[in-house]
């Protein structure tokens, strides 16, 4: 099954995404810190899709994305930003950094499932 990792410093946000993805044919790993996720990726973990929050302490979503692109295994891995941020300039910055898409919280569960399925090309 494809591996999808979620990164969000909010425990409740991770709980919501877990409940949404429970019924999907994917393996999910969750991280409260982008630093921890990036360290595991540098250690050899190769996710098929990464979904990350933007505003996080220590390492924000863009810094995480830049870090991911430096690792050969995730240089081209699809990354979705899942955030409360709606500013167009941030979306443009994300696009320039190689983001796959932008999902605004609170997300519609059915639409998030569709977005994941679309990126992973699940039947």
């Amino acid at each position: 099954m494809p591996l999808v990792i979620f990164v969000d410093d909010s425990e409740t946000a991770l709980a919501s995404t877990r409940m949404v993805t429970d019924s999907m044919p994917i393996t999910v790993k969750q991280y409260l810190s982008a630093v921890d996720a990036l360290n595991e990726i540098k250690g050899g973990m190769v996710p098929d899709l990464i979904i990350t929050d933007m505003n996080m302490p220590v390492m924000n979503g863009f810094e995480f994305l830049q870090g991911l692109r430096q690792v050969p295994g995730t240089a081209r891995t699809p990354v979705l930003m899942l955030t409360t941020e709606t500013r167009d300039e941030l979306k443009a910055q994300g696009k320039a950094l190689g983001l796959t898409g932008w999902v605004v919280k609170p997300f519609n569960p059915a639409q998030l499932k569709q977005a994941i399925s679309r990126v992973l090309r699940l039947a």
Partner: protein, 130 residues
Amino acid sequence: MQFLNTLNGLLEHVKSVERETIGLTQEAQLRFVRFLDKNKLCADDETLEAMQYQDIIAQQLSATIEAIESAQEHMQYFMHAFSEDDAIAAQSIEKMHGKLANALEKAKDKHSAFSGKVNREDDDDGIEFF
């Protein structure tokens, strides 16, 4: 000067209440999630969407805490100048006014930026692929 000390104390109190509120909303949410897990219950889509409001509440309150801390920092500069020299104090109060106005604008921007889809009137589904 006394009024600034009192105002500073009031702001500390507001921050404390906001931090407590963030903690309480998080604990309430996590207990609800544990209840659902324990009883093998699934929330419907509408409930799952509403469950995300806690994250938005926490971010909004955290942003106002940051704004208060910024205002307090500017007030501290003024209080220091006031205690040193009257002429400097007169200049400082003008500067403080400008800094506080700036802190207020930043706080309003963050309120808008961290609201996500909440309070938006468009029917955009909130997902955009690049």
